[in-house]
Each structure stands twice: as structure tokens, then as C-alpha cells.
């Protein structure tokens, strides 16, 4: 699908800003007009954190997304008025009646790349695939922070190449769900993985 309105829904410290910044930078490098708005609670750690991302070939006026083409949901703290055509969610986060898929991003980050933070880049890869964004390695090199660039490119490409059958074959859903719950508890307790902080620092 040629999505133009994206919402990334998570909690503070989970990687919403990293994913949003990286996707926006990539699209800007590709020549798109992009708006990226971060909306977050003042209690940053564990509070709601949203990224509203729109892109187009024409200038964008209203940048507040209320009807998203795609929502990437890493936690369920998003605006109550938000609706989505398609939802990409970590395990256990899709809602009844929603059209979408559940992928254990964090578990895959650990299993495939040794660190949960790479789950964010896997999620970004899947998001780019669902949005039909046709990027090149050079685009990624220009858009990504230099730190962990090889690992990040690999994780994005891995996520881009995922499909539902391969996900189910990799991780049993219950195990992934338990992993996601433990990870969310760490974020809420203010002990988010140090690597995520490092990556955010490198980005800035």
C-alpha cells in the first residue's frame, strides 16, 4: 500500500523517536516532503509517546494524523480518536476488529541481532515494507546515525523481508508476548535498555 499517514504509538523510552526520526530522515533523503510531529506526555518515562509522520510529493499542511494509513503500535497509549487502515503491532497489541498483524519485534531483535533495540529497526523495516517505500542502501546510509549503522541496516532489511508465515515460524506467540511484557515493565520502571539511550544520543 502507498501509505502517506503514519502513527507510531509507544511509551517514552521505547524508541518511538528513533523510529520516527529515522523514517522521516530516510523519506527526506528520498526527496519526499515530510512532516514529523512528536507528541508526548510530560512524564516522559513510561508516558505516552507518539510520532505523527506524513509524507508526500506535495507540501503537507495538516500534520496531525487522525486517520492513519498505518499505525505501528509498540504500546497502546495512542490518541483515543485515532483510527487506522492497517496496524502493525507487537504481540498482543492489536484490538478486536482491527486489520493488521502482530510481530514480536523485541524478541526478534534479541534473537537475530543480539539486542532488543534492534527490534525497533526491524519494526521500521516492516513499516517501510507495508508502506511500499522503495529505498536503497545509499538512502539508508545517508539517513541513519553512524553508530551501529551496519547492524541497523541489516535489521531494517530483515524487517523489510518479513512475512506472516516466517514470523510465526520464528517465535511462538506466547513466548513473544511474555518478552514484550517484561520489556514494557522495564521501560515503565525507568530502566530502559542502555543501548536504546545510546542510539538516541547518537541520533542527536
Amino acid at each position: 500500500m502507498a501509505a502517506k499517514s503514519i502513527v507510531i504509538d509507544g511509551v517514552g523510552g521505547q524508541g518511538v523517536r528513533v523510529i520516527g526520526n529515522t523514517m522521516a530522515s530516510l523519506l527526506a533523503v528520498m526527496g519526499y516532503e515530510v512532516t514529523l510531529l512528536f507528541d508526548y506526555d510530560s512524564s516522559v518515562r513510561g508516558g505516552m509517546s507518539e510520532a505523527f509522520l506524513e509524507y508526500d510529493r506535495e507540501p503537507i499542511s495538516n500534520f496531525v494524523v487522525e486517520c492513519a494509513d498505518v499505525v505501528l503500535r509498540l504500546a497502546d497509549r495512542g490518541p483515543i480518536h485515532l483510527s487506522a487502515d492497517y496496524v502493525i503491532a507487537d504481540v498482543g497489541l492489536t484490538k478486536p476488529g482491527e486489520h493488521g498483524e502482530e510481530i514480536p519485534f523485541l524478541q526478534l531483535g534479541v534473537d537475530k541481532f543480539g539486542r532488543d533495540l534492534f527490534g525497533n529497526m526491524i519494526a521500521l523495516g516492516r513499516l517501510l515494507c507495508v508502506c511500499d517505500v522503495d529505498f536503497t542502501d545509499q538512502h539508508l546510509i545517508e539517513a541513519l546515525p553512524k553508530k551501529y549503522i551496519d547492524e541497523n541496516i541489516a535489521a531494517i532489511k530483515y524487517g523489510y523481508g518479513l512475512d506472516r508465515d516466517s514470523i510465526k515460524a520464528i517465535v511462538p506467540e506466547q513466548a513473544a508476548s511474555r518478552f514484550a511484557e517484561r520489556y514494557a515493565a522495564r521501560v515503565l520502571a525507568g530502566t530502559a535498555p542502555a543501548e536504546a539511550v545510546e542510539l538516541a544520543s547518537a541520533r542527536n
Binding site: A28, Y40, H81
Partner: protein
């Protein structure tokens, strides 16, 4: 040409630097803190640019007054509660005639309120926040590129008016990233003409009413009125050169929407149904321009992030009924606007098509 993602708060800082600012003093407060943070980084790499983190907003505002008196184009950035604390210094700056720029990235108040949520409730404070009568020049951009442009205009207007100028923004605009080519924006910069203190001449900088020779004039009403009128007329004359506004959308509509700053952007899907007047110079109000445009429309509705602060101004200006769509509690969205229009019976029958006449970043009009 270098198009890149730029954040609204970053654009304000870059505009200030482009305008010749060499001194920033401030105290961090959401949602303005990126301006302070990036000013400190800029200062670390540019020794001619001085950065001072103060103990609070009172000190910050007074520090930039001192910096300006000492010869530096100076500015600070804050949000609602901090802006309240700066009001005494702003009044002093008007009395003494000190050019400087105060950036207020508005959030939902009063008090601490909702620190990261967008609001537009500081319009009256930007005009009347300090004591006594004075003429505030206040701008409120709508895009990241305009944050850069109007930062430059703010410094220029401050130099010309010799007064503190307010640049308004809000939590959404300050935190919005847009692909922007700031290098393509080429605006003239008004140079500093005031000699710094201690440069040899005599210059009064007392907040007390005085005669030109420095003697107190604290009981001379005629002298006060003479000086007040002189300052007021000078500031209004300067403001006339900065009469920025946007007039567009469906000009054949029977209804004129007035929206500014971030609400203008969010209301864009209504462009097919309404005419738009967007004041960019919020204060002094654009009386002549708005009166002439409003006369063409049967109905007027103000969409704003406060409970009618600007609508009240427009109603008094035009001496006619003005409808209101207040967007409160940080809920700035087209859905909230539609609900507001529906509540006053002005919701268009059909949803407007997206991507209509006037895209974001279109050049604003200017009187004259």
C-alpha cells in the same frame, strides 16, 4: 539548495543567529527547551555567540535586557509560566527602549497546566502582560520555515522599534519537523544602531519616568503623555512595516475563518468551504486589513486554542458577532474543529477534499 528536516524550535534559533543574535539567556521549560539546548551547543562552537543558563525566567529576561544594553542582539525562549515571570522585565524593556526578542512556545495553561500540549492561550499576556500602557509587536508563524523567517523579522522589528518583540509558537509548531530549505530564505537584517553602554555617550536606562536630561519626571503628566505618544507612534509606525497576514482558501464562501499559528495548519481540510484570514502579526491587530476583508463575509468564525481570546478582539474590532471554535486541553485536530463547527451549526455538509488550494508554506500576504 539544502533541503533537510528542521524542527520548529531549531528554526527559531537559526533565524535568530541569521538576524545577528549573539546572546541567549534562558531557563529550560517545555516545550521551548530545544531552543535553549541548541543555543548552548551553538555557543560551544561559535565563541562570538554567548549562552547563559540562568536560575529562572526572571533572571533570563533581565539578562537579555542587560545584554542588549551592552550591545548584543539578545533573546530568550520560554513557555507559559516562564513568560509570566518575564513580564516585569518586558515592561522595563518597553519603558527604557531595549530591543530584544522573547520567544514564547505556548502550551496549555494556566499554571503548569499541560506542559507538552499545544495551546494558544498567551495572546492576551503577550499584549497586556506587563504593567501600564505599551505597544507590543507580536508575530506567530505557522510553519517551520516561517519560524525562521519571523525570528528574523522579530529581531528586525525589535531593532527598529527599540522594544522587546514577542515571537509566539506552540508545542506542536515547536516540535514539528518539516523538510525545509532555510538557505533559500533571504531576508534583510536590520543592524544594531544603538551604541552600547559605556561607549562614551550618555544614555538613560531608568524605569522611572524622567526628563530627557535624566531628572525625575514622576509627577509631570504632560511629559509622560508626550513621551508615551512619541513611543507609541514610533512603535505603531514600525509595526506597519510588518503587517503580515494570509488571506486565501475559498474567497467566494459566505464565511470567513480566522485561524493562526498551528490551528491554521490543522484547519486546512476546510479550505474548500471557507475563506481564511490568518494574522501573522498578532499585535498590534491588523485592524485595517481585517475590517476590509471581513466586510465581504456574512459570517465570521475564529478557530483558536483558547477560549475566545482572539475572537473577543475581533468582535470588538469589527463591532459584529463572531462565532467561536475553542480548541482546549491541547486537543488540536480537524475532528475537534469539526465538532466545534457542528456545535455552532457551521459544519459543512460534505467533508472537504484534502490537499486543497493553499498548501503549507505558501507565502503570506502583506499589507501595502
Amino acid at each position: 539548495m539544502t533541503k533537510r528536516l528542521v524542527q520548529g524550535n531549531e528554526a527559531v534559533l537559526l533565524g535568530a543567529v541569521k538576524a545577528g543574535a549573539t546572546f541567549f539567556a534562558g531557563y529550560p521549560i517545555s516545550p521551548s527547551s530545544e531552543i535553549l539546548a541548541q543555543a548552548s551547543v551553538y555557543a560551544a562552537h561559535h565563541p562570538e555567540f554567548r549562552f547563559l543558563q540562568e536560575e529562572d525566567e526572571i533572571a533570563s529576561a533581565n539578562a537579555i535586557l542587560g545584554g542588549s544594553l551592552a550591545g548584543a542582539k539578545s533573546f530568550t525562549a520560554t513557555s507559559g509560566p516562564g513568560f509570566s515571570l518575564m513580564q516585569e522585565a518586558i515592561g522595563y524593556g518597553h519603558k527604557v527602549g531595549i530591543p530584544c526578542v522573547i520567544v514564547n512556545v505556548m502550551r496549555v495553561g494556566p499554571g503548569t497546566g499541560m506542559p507538552t500540549m499545544p495551546g494558544q492561550g498567551d495572546l492576551n499576556q503577550a499584549r497586556y502582560g506587563s504593567t501600564g500602557d505599551y505597544t507590543s509587536i507580536v508575530f506567530y508563524p505557522s510553519t517551520v520555515a516561517e519560524c525562521y523567517e519571523y525570528a528574523i523579522h522579530s529581531f528586525n522589528a525589535a531593532e527598529e522599534s527599540r522594544s522587546p518583540v514577542i515571537l509566539l509558537s506552540d508545542a506542536f509548531l515547536g516540535h514539528l519537523n518539516e523538510v525545509t530549505d532555510l538557505d533559500a530564505i533571504d531576508l534583510p537584517v536590520v543592524p544594531r544602531t544603538l551604541e552600547p553602554l559605556a561607549s562614551g555617550g550618555t544614555r538613560l536606562f531608568s524605569g522611572v519616568a524622567t526628563y530627557p536630561d535624566g531628572e525625575p519626571a514622576t509627577a509631570d503628566s504632560d511629559e509622560f503623555i508626550r513621551q508615551y505618544n512619541e513611543t507609541r507612534n514610533h512603535s505603531l509606525g514600525v509595526a506597519e512595516r510588518y503587517a503580515f497576514y494570509e488571506y486565501g482558501w475559498n474567497k467566494e464562501s459566505k464565511t470567513l475563518v480566522i485561524a493562526f499559528g498551528i490551528t491554521r495548519r490543522i484547519a486546512q481540510p476546510l479550505a474548500a468551504h471557507f475563506a481564511l484570514f490568518r494574522p501573522i502579526r498578532i499585535w498590534p491587530t491588523l485592524d485595517e486589513e481585517l475590517t476590509e476583508i471581513a466586510a465581504r463575509y456574512k459570517e465570521i468564525v475564529v478557530i483558536e486554542g483558547s477560549d475566545g481570546q482572539y475572537a473577543n478582539v475581533v468582535e470588538r474590532m469589527l463591532l459584529r458577532r463572531v462565532e467561536r471554535v475553542p480548541l482546549l486541553g491541547g486537543r488540536m485536530s480537524i475532528e475537534a474543529i469539526r465538532e466545534g463547527l457542528d456545535a455552532i451549526g457551521m459544519l459543512p455538509a460534505e467533508p472537504a477534499p484534502s490537499g486543497s488550494e493553499s498548501p503549507a508554506g505558501s507565502r503570506a500576504g502583506r499589507a501595502g
